[in-house]
């Protein structure tokens, strides 16, 4: 119902555009470092652990590059990045909107005639739908680089083997799957967080609870959606 109210014709397009740009900056630029940092370690750990598991088997070493690439593209980059973003961005959104509710900012906007559900939610959702897939694509690339850094300089395999693995058995559809997941997860984490913030009642304890609930429910729904998408597309 809230999303129904949120998706409506803006009172003034330029105001919504400005707010969307601000949100893109907050969600996108503000999350690059944390997403990049996590992505490096995802790739690095995946490479090291598969090297350990494949050690002594007949599976060729270059398979590590292939596994790192596919596991990050299909699963780890979209899911882990969005779970982290649910914590960082989701809690921030819930606290921001909840704080506005408590300080009567939302009431003030309502009295002015602003469609608050639309003005406060739509720019955030659109911004997330644009920038989170970009962050996920960046995370996938950095993860593959992370796998390289943890396996080649440490002597787990040669440079040529890792590159060969990364270039082997490439399925273009997996990239689409990554972006579908990123879009769905972006929608979940922003809409759930906006809902939690928008409906805050009470004081600072309730605001903290809303912020926590935003993260918890977003995470649960992201994992559920991850399973559904995996079951549907693989």
């Amino acid at each position: 119902m809230m999303m129904g109210t949120a998706i409506s014709k803006p009172e003034k397009f330029s105001m919504y555009y400005k707010e969307t740009m601000r949100q893109m900056n907050d969600i996108g630029i503000g999350s690059i470092v944390i997403v990049a940092l996590i992505a490096v370690f995802i790739g690095a750990v995946t490479a090291v652990q598969f090297a350990y598991q494949l050690d002594g088997t007949l599976v060729p070493q270059y398979y590590i590059g292939y596994i790192v690439r596919d596991s990050t593209i299909i699963e780890l980059a979209p899911t882990i990045s969005c779970l982290v973003l649910a914590g960082k961005v989701g809690s921030n959104i819930a606290a921001e909107i909840g704080g506005m509710r408590q300080k009567e900012h939302i009431d003030a906007m309502e009295i002015m005639g602003v469609n608050t559900a639309s003005y406060l939610i739509m720019p955030k959702v659109i911004a997330a739908l644009v920038v989170i897939p970009m962050l996920v694509a960046m995370a996938a690339f950095i993860s593959i680089v992370g796998g390289y850094l943890s396996s080649v300089p440490t002597g787990l395999m040669s440079d040529a083997e890792y590159i060969q693995g990364v270039r082997s058995f490439f399925v273009q559809r997996n990239i689409s799957l990554m972006f579908i997941k990123a879009l769905v997860f972006a929608f979940i984490l922003t809409s759930v967080s906006c809902y939690q913030g928008f409906h805050v009642k009470g004081g600072s304890i309730e605001l903290g609870k809303a912020s926590t609930d935003a993260v918890v429910f977003s995470d649960i729904l992201i994992l559920l959606a991850d399973y559904i998408i995996a079951a549907m597309y693989t």
Partner: protein, 253 residues
């Protein structure tokens, strides 16, 4: 003019307003007074549509507010200004951006025209040179005045003020009261003020309703307050022995 007809509001089992029928007049400062918990804020929120009534309705110049579509409500609200108890200024915006927000959202004015209008409203509330300050960098009294400037920037026909003097010293309270009254008279708007500041009652109370336990216990104007025999009113307005002595001496004169 705003008129309420048998306005009822319940929260669960608790009936906060028990059928309020009253009128708030155009060009006058209409005051809602009463003890804490009497239902003042609930009534004000029902008037502006922040709460939905459990019964009865509100008329804005014979337009039934609660029969309007969402679009019509938004259109009507562009004619409404409201000053909140804690001012409700947007923290991340400067004073100028706060006042300009309704203009940015609802008008096609040029940047220059908007700035002129913002400066006019700031002048009107006796504030100059604060355009680039953030709300946190201003005093409580200044925030109230910025709140009033924002409320009048779209030239509203109805102005609502929720406890405009709360947290202010008596001198600043008088300034705010006079400001609200002069804006009301100059622009011939319907102003409704929710207050329990007795100075306001005696200074600007042109139409007063006293709420008690969800009912109107008394209504009248500031002159009638002094001479009324209503016990609840006298007990409420002249609560302290000092104020009672003041009343007695005023009556003797």
């Amino acid at each position: 003019m705003i008129r309420t007809e048998n306005l009822v509001k319940t929260f669960g089992e608790q009936e906060v307003l028990k059928g309020i029928t009253t009128e708030f007049y155009k060009g006058k400062t209409n005051l809602i007074i009463g003890r804490s918990g009497a239902g003042k804020t609930v009534l004000l929120k029902l008037l502006v549509g922040l709460f939905k009534p459990s019964g009865g309705t509100v008329y804005y110049d014979d337009v039934d507010f609660y029969q309007l579509s969402k679009k019509e409500v938004r259109e009507l609200r562009m004619k409404v200004g409201m000053l909140f108890q804690a001012s409700a200024l947007f923290d991340s915006m400067t004073v100028e951006e706060n006042i300009r927000f309704p203009l940015d959202m609802f008008t096609n004015m040029t940047r220059k025209e908007k700035l002129a209008r913002v400066n006019y409203c700031l002048d009107r509330v006796n504030l100059q040179g604060v355009n680039d300050k953030f709300p946190s960098e201003t005093s409580g009294g200044m925030q109230k005045r910025v709140g009033i400037a924002r409320a009048i920037v779209l030239e509203p026909r109805y102005l609502f003020c929720d406890e405009p003097n709360s947290g202010l010293d008596p001198k600043t309270s008088i300034v705010i009261d006079e400001l609200i009254q002069s804006i009301t008279q100059e622009n011939n708007i319907t102003t409704v003020i929710n207050t329990h500041d007795m100075n306001s009652v005696m200074e600007i109370g042109e139409n007063i309703i006293l709420l008690n336990q969800g009912n109107i216990a008394w209504s009248g104007n500031k002159e009638e307050v002094l001479h009324s025999e209503n016990e609840f009113l006298q007990d409420f307005i002249f609560a302290s022995p000092f104020l009672q002595r003041l009343r007695e001496s005023a009556l003797q004169k």
